[in-house]
């Protein structure tokens, strides 16, 4: 099955189960979780069902296009179900069946793996879902976001689109995947992976990125003071991406890491509080 068919099928499946199909966020994010459709909407009381395809950037995972399984930019399919449905695991298995997986002949395991994003003050409890040893999905019961305890909790299902496509297509190298209608993954992505790996590991301007981090931070703070928490959040995402490149460049010491994470976490917490104050305010008139 092609990559685009995986995405289309998942969109169909979750749309039929009441999800609103969103677009991925248009700013660099390390994971679908960081998109506002998750970060904000898991806060507060209102039910929320969303599914979206999100490209995710992880500079440190770049392998110059040389690794069959790891890239600095991959695609996630993110589902948020709030409140947690009673049979989340079975729903998820149904989605695999819908994709054409015969679950009776593949070893599908829920393997203990708790998820945390210290820079967003977010964490959850759950598993990585393994299929014949391949991690295809992260399955998480959200407990906290922006430092706020969640009530109700959300179930987050994050499919790794390339991994799923590889599994369904029996490929052991993601560059051999068909994105759709005979456009190959390698044709689309190989050069991108090569260039960004060189940039992320070797050429990214450390001083400039440090400087940008500070400027983004200041902008986020300024916007927060004006109660514009949505654009403020965009700047936290920009901080996070700058941080990730600095990290890939090995430019961040352990002590500094803690400090920079703390800055992002505090901003995320203030943003989350503003959001809750405003939306819960609406709820209570």
């Amino acid at each position: 099955m092609s990559v685009q068919n995986v995405i289309l099928k998942l969109q169909e499946f979750w749309a039929e189960r009441g999800c609103y199909i969103a677009s991925g966020y248009d700013s660099e994010v390390g994971a679908g979780t960081m998109a506002p459709d998750t970060f904000f909407r898991v806060l507060g009381k209102k039910p929320w069902q969303v599914a979206y395809w999100q490209p995710a950037r992880r500079p440190d995972d770049g392998r110059y296009g040389q690794n069959p399984n790891r890239v600095q930019k991959h695609n996630q399919f993110q589902v948020i179900l709030k409140p947690v449905p009673v049979d989340g695991q079975l729903l998820f298995l149904d989605s695999l069946i819908y994709l054409g997986v015969d679950i009776r002949i593949h070893d599908i395991k829920f393997d203990d793996d708790n998820w945390a994003s210290p820079s967003l003050g977010a964490w959850g409890v759950g598993w990585q879902v393994m299929c014949d040893g391949l991690e295809i999905t992260q399955f998480t019961y959200f407990q906290q976001a922006g430092g706020i305890e969640l009530n109700p909790n959300s179930l987050e299902i994050t499919y790794g689109v390339e991994r799923l496509a590889m599994f369904l297509d029996g490929k052991s190298n993601l560059y051999e995947l068909d994105w759709g209608n005979k456009v190959s993954y390698a044709h689309l992505k190989l050069e991108e992976e090569r260039q960004f790996s060189i940039y992320n590991f070797e050429l990214a301007d450390i001083d400039m990125l440090r400087d940008l981090f500070v400027q983004y931070q200041k902008e986020a703070e300024r916007l927060l003071d004006r109660n514009l928490f949505l654009p403020a959040y965009d700047y936290v995402l920009k901080c996070s991406h700058a941080f990730n490149i600095l990290d890939a460049r090995k430019a961040i010491s352990v002590a500094e890491r803690t400090a920079l994470m703390g800055i992002m976490r505090n901003l995320a917490a203030r943003i989350a509080q503003k959001y809750v104050m405003q939306t819960e305010g609406e709820n209570h008139g």
Binding site: V84, I105, D107, V125, L134, N151, S253
Partner: protein, 694 residues
């Protein structure tokens, strides 16, 4: 008589937590039954990652009836001077809803009381269970919990189902928003839906029809048998340790062993890397040939039969990708100048308040310096100091950042690949060993010395920081570090007095003299306690054997170990009885007297002269034996003097009226006592029967 069948159905509990939760559940059930005074037969408690089952036999439907006494006020308070009831007694009756005429006098050890007796017990067990089970479940504790539904009840993973049958009938209870029923789910992938259960027999049959192997023992033997089949088929050895077996046992309800292979080109990677990527990253087992060399095969455990080889083929692809990653880390790390990484350790915190790793390795070099002196290994000084200075550099490599369990090992491998001296790379390679007392015997001296330095620095740092350990709490692994020090000393036969080492390690952190002394003492005691534990719990030496060697106030760990070993042999050879009798007799006399001076001129009787001569003749030989740590021979030499000593006691009155003679005889005995005590305090041995081990 009825039986109770309970099953808690959950979403996958982390594999390594399951058995602990099962044990907690059993204990909580038993103590609840006790508390509710419910008699019962055998309890069986088994678990997988998706279900915890408790089956209890022979439970009555009513608790046993018996007479119950309720004590009221003391008689002198309950009745006034005229023998009429006081307010206290009236309140008691009101509270207990009884009439004054129901009150009787009750004799107690504290005097006469008034109170009532009434029929107790006979409670409805079903009702007690309905009320008790939610309390039992709420009593389970977990390292980390979560909430998921409106009940907001914290648990390790979401609860899906509660089966509760008493006397083969469903019993109602509710926990975390889940109501009990007589239904159970089967295998996650192989079973379609819930099935109904009306007896324990139904339950067992239903599970097996639905691809659940309920009992741990059955899952274990299935896994082991299938691994054995593969070993025979491929003429190989599968490397399975307890942790991985436990992982497989509790992550599969229907375990099936499968095998696969990978491109042999990856075997050019160091074996440690291959093994770590397989086990930690991919939960697969390495396979070696009969000589112990890694092959390009692997073994894993699936939760379904793999007749179509889908699982095996899938895992082959996955392991290939993992090795590609390993190759990437290995290649990229080797491009760095390993020794240059040391400067970057200035940015890496060792522990809050304890400085950076750069500071730590500076301390380690000093400790290593002292250690090579103390163990007469001066020739290794320069190489081991180089190792000490650079042993933490690999914390900055990509491989170790990805797999912290490879720290130390990677440093060694990178240096080996760079052509560094064997002593240096081997010391770094092995300086995190041993990980536990049951690890195989250590062999590399340099690694042992560096490891002792590193452990002692950890211990001194944490103790100085005020970290305390208790039987259940040791967050920084202080105990593990101390155990390692003991094991290294014994394995490598190091004649090392730990006192100067502890002092130097503590000095690095001490703020003042009082601090230094206090922490020195704490660590001394800690190490003594760990040695005691090593002898008693690990080597299974009897407590009195250990007591006999622990009394002496030295920190030469190996001596105490060799002495205990000698005593065990003495016990087994039957020599301990006369030695113990002798030492007790000597101590009886010597311990009451102050130290006396011996003078040959004061010897009067034949028997004491003979004893003195024999002692003089044997002493230097025995001293030599003791000095050379031949404690067994030293003890038997001492024992050879026993007939002469016995003769002495027979014929000579030690407590002579003549004070100088008396003191001289005591002095002679004190010398002999001294010889024995230099080996051990044999008087503390309480059992002289063979078998120095428990």
């Amino acid at each position: 008589m009825a039986d109770l069948l309970f099953e808690l159905g959950v979403e996958e509990i982390p594999a390594l937590a399951v058995s602990g939760i099962r044990d907690q559940l059993r204990d909580l059930f038993l103590s609840r039954l006790d508390q509710d005074q419910i008699a019962h037969g055998d309890i069986e408690c088994v678990a997988s990652n998706r279900r915890l089952m408790v089956h209890i036999a022979k439970i009555p439907e009513k608790t046993a009836s018996k007479e119950e006494t309720v004590l009221g006020p003391a008689k002198r308070i309950a009745l006034d001077d005229r023998g009429l009831p006081t307010v206290a007694l009236k309140k008691f009756c009101e509270f207990q809803k009884v009439k004054l005429t129901d009150v009787v006098e009750i004799e107690t050890p504290k005097g006469k009381y008034l109170g009532i007796t009434r029929a107790g017990g006979g409670s409805d067990v079903a009702a007690l269970l309905t009320a008790g089970i939610p309390v039992i479940l709420a009593g389970l504790t977990f390292a980390k919990t979560m909430v998921w539904n409106e009940s907001r009840l914290p648990f390790i993973r979401p609860i899906k189902n509660i089966l509760l049958l008493f006397n083969n009938k469903p019993l109602d209870c509710e926990f975390a928003g889940v109501k009990s029923s007589n239904k159970v789910f089967g295998h996650l992938l192989l079973s379609d839906s819930y099935f109904e259960v009306n007896s324990f027999k139904d339950y067992i049959q239903g599970l097996s029809k639905n691809f659940i192997i309920l009992k741990e023992e059955e899952r274990r033997s299935k896994i082991l048998a299938e691994i054995l089949d593969i070993e025979e088929e491929l003429e190989c050895k599968v490397k399975l340790d307890d942790e991985m077996l436990n992982y497989y046992l509790y992550s599969n309800e229907y375990p099936v062993v499968f095998s696969g292979s990978f491109n042999a080109k990856y075997l050019s990677l160091p074996a440690e890397i291959i093994t770590t990527f397989m086990t930690h990253e991919k939960k697969l087992l390495p396979v070696t040939d009969q000589s112990g060399k890694l092959t390009n095969h692997f073994v894993g455990v699936a939760n379904i039969p793999d007749e179509n080889k889908k699982v095996s083929r899938g895992n082959e692809k996955v392991i290939q990708a993992a090795f590609e990653d390993a190759q990437f880390f290995w290649d990229i790390d080797r491009k760095e100048d390993y020794f240059a990484l040391k400067q970057l350790l200035k940015n890496v915190t060792f522990q809050k308040e304890l400085g950076t790793y750069f500071e730590k390795v500076e301390r380690l070099a000093a400790l290593v310096d002292l250690l090579v002196n103390e163990t007469q290994n001066g020739a290794l000084r320069a190489k081991l100091q180089k190792a000490a200075f650079n042993c933490k550099n690999d914390l900055l490599t990509k491989m170790v950042r990805e797999f912290p369990s490879l720290q130390g090992i990677m440093g060694g491998l990178y240096l080996q690949a760079a052509g560094e001296d064997k002593v240096v790379w081997k010391a770094i390679y092995g300086h995190y060993k041993p990980r536990g007392l049951t690890d195989e015997k250590l062999e590399d001296l340099g690694a042992g010395i560096l490891s002792i330095a590193d452990r002692m620095d950890n211990i001194a740092g944490f103790v100085s920081k005020g970290i305390k350990i208790s039987s259940s709490k040791d967050p920084y692994g202080i105990r593990r570090d101390a155990n390692a020090v003991i094991k290294i000393i014994i394995d490598l036969e190091l004649d090392l007095d730990l006192a100067p080492l502890i002092r130097l390690a503590v000095l690095n952190f001490a703020k003042n003299d009082a601090d230094l002394e206090r922490n020195f003492k704490t660590i001394r005691e800690l190490l003594a306690a760990r040695l005691e534990n090593y002898l008693k719990d690990y080597l299974k030496y009897r407590y009195d054997v250990v007591n006999a060697v622990m009394g002496q106030d030295t920190m030469v760990i190996r001596d105490k170990f060799l002495k205990a070993q000698a005593i065990v042999k003495l016990i087994d050879s039957g020599m301990i009885e006369p030695l113990t009798a002798l030492h007790r007799r000597l101590k009886n006399i010597c311990s009451d007297s102050e130290r006396c001076k011996f003078s040959e001129g004061l010897l009067k009787e034949k028997e004491e002269k003979i004893l003195s001569d024999v002692f003089k003749e044997s002493k230097s030989r025995i001293d030599d034996l003791i000095m050379n740590k031949h404690y067994l021979q030293a003890s038997s030499e001492i024992l050879e003097m026993k007939p002469i000593i016995d003769r002495f006691f027979e014929k000579i009155l030690v407590m002579d009226k003549n004070m100088p003679l008396r003191k001289n005889r005591i002095a002679l005995l004190q010398h002999i006592d001294g010889l024995l005590t230099a080996v051990a305090d044999f008087s503390l041995l309480v059992e002289i029967k063979p078998g120095g081990k428990t």
